[in-house]
Subunit: 198 residues, 2 copies
DNA sequence: TGTACATCAGTGAACGCGCGTTCACTGATGTAC
DNA sequence: TGTACATCAGTGAACGCGCGTTCACTGATGTAC
């Protein structure tokens, strides 16, 4: 017997998909209030349930945090891929596109951006998070793999681009990337020359 | 009348230099417990006074935070300058030295490193913090000024080096800068070639 | 098709915690005379 | 040198807050028969 009535103003005892609703609520709180605003009680309130309800779906606050981070990593990888695909076939443009996606995510979701990196040391606690993180890194690594930016192998190349874009994202968030005249410094202007590999 | 007796086990009503003691206690808490461990009450306890005492020296928690950040920025600039001076006269070596100092500070004081950058938007609230921040940036900017790393003027060059070293610091903190075989990626290996200016 | 019942997903009250802040107070300091 | 006194820097109790978590409970779901 499925509860298939459509009356929106009913308050059924069962929510239907509270787990998803709590993740969404958490993402909204993160966006609106920042890291400090994300609590179990507030996520529950935003999802329209009592503060004790989340315990049935997540292993404490940490469980919700990791689930949100997993979602965030997926969004992150999605944004990088989307920008890459919009960039045509040229490997240089594709790498720049990925960096644009990286920076767009950091700019549009600053608190989530912080959260996902702060959870990277606990990927063993949540398989989704581990997978999404690996996927995001893979997107960057693949794009970098077509270039020889520094001697020392692919790991070093990835580290260089990643450091550059990650540092730029952090500094831009602090408004530290503006020239004295107030204009922003575009990311492309700090990219080193990119030599194709082989 | 100066209280000049030297008995250490006395507990005088007046502390003597509680302001400094609270800053030191805050730095210790930050080092031992991280950002979450830094509270007014714990700093007071560590300084050996009641939890209400700090109110006589700082404008709430925010006041203590900014004072600690100012101290942190000074330590940061000191470390960069010290490494620069240990590097001899060659501008390339001096810039590398400054980056070593930057990374040493980030590695030795991770929570403080986070704190100082998180306060950069509130430098108008604390003149010491503003001065220390400006000084730290000046150390980096001066060292970069001898090079032409990217077209676009000094601001762009500074942004490039800063992004690179800042991103490297953040990723290293997350243990994201190790090759598959477990070896670390040295910062120098991701530095682009440095052409002297003019 | 109907009914008994186990399971699931909520509720609301209560718990203890640590926090920042305020307040009347008290003891020490140091200055005016 | 001594004394009165204003000021300063502490104390300890109390406040309200929001938090995560637990618990007995209840209503809804869905399955076995």
């Amino acid at each position: 017997m499925v509860c298939d009535d459509e009356r929106m103003d009913e308050k059924p005892h069962h929510h239907g998909n509270l787990r998803e609703a709590l993740i969404s609520a958490g993402l909204e709180l993160l966006a609106k209030e920042g890291t400090e605003g994300l609590t179990l009680r507030r996520a529950a309130a935003r999802a329209g349930v009592s503060h004790a309800a989340p315990a049935h779906h997540f292993a404490g606050k940490e469980g919700l945090l990791l689930a949100i981070a997993a979602r965030g990593f997926t969004m992150f990888a999605d944004m990088m891929e989307a920008e890459r695909e919009r960039s045509g076939p040229d490997p240089v443009e594709r790498l720049k596109g990925i960096c644009r996606g990286y920076l767009a995510f950091a700019g549009q979701h600053p608190a989530l951006f912080e959260l996902i990196f702060s959870t990277m040391g606990r990927t063993d606690k949540n398989a989704d998070l581990a997978n999404a993180g690996t996927r995001a890194y893979g997107v960057l690594a693949e794009a970098v793999s077509h270039f020889e930016l520094a001697p020392g192998g692919p790991g070093v190349n990835e580290a260089m681009v990643w450091s550059l874009v990650h540092g730029y994202a952090g500094l831009r968030q602090m408004k530290r990337l503006e020239l004295p005249d107030g204009t922003a410094i575009p990311f492309e202007s700090i990219l080193p020359p990119m030599k194709p590999r082989l």
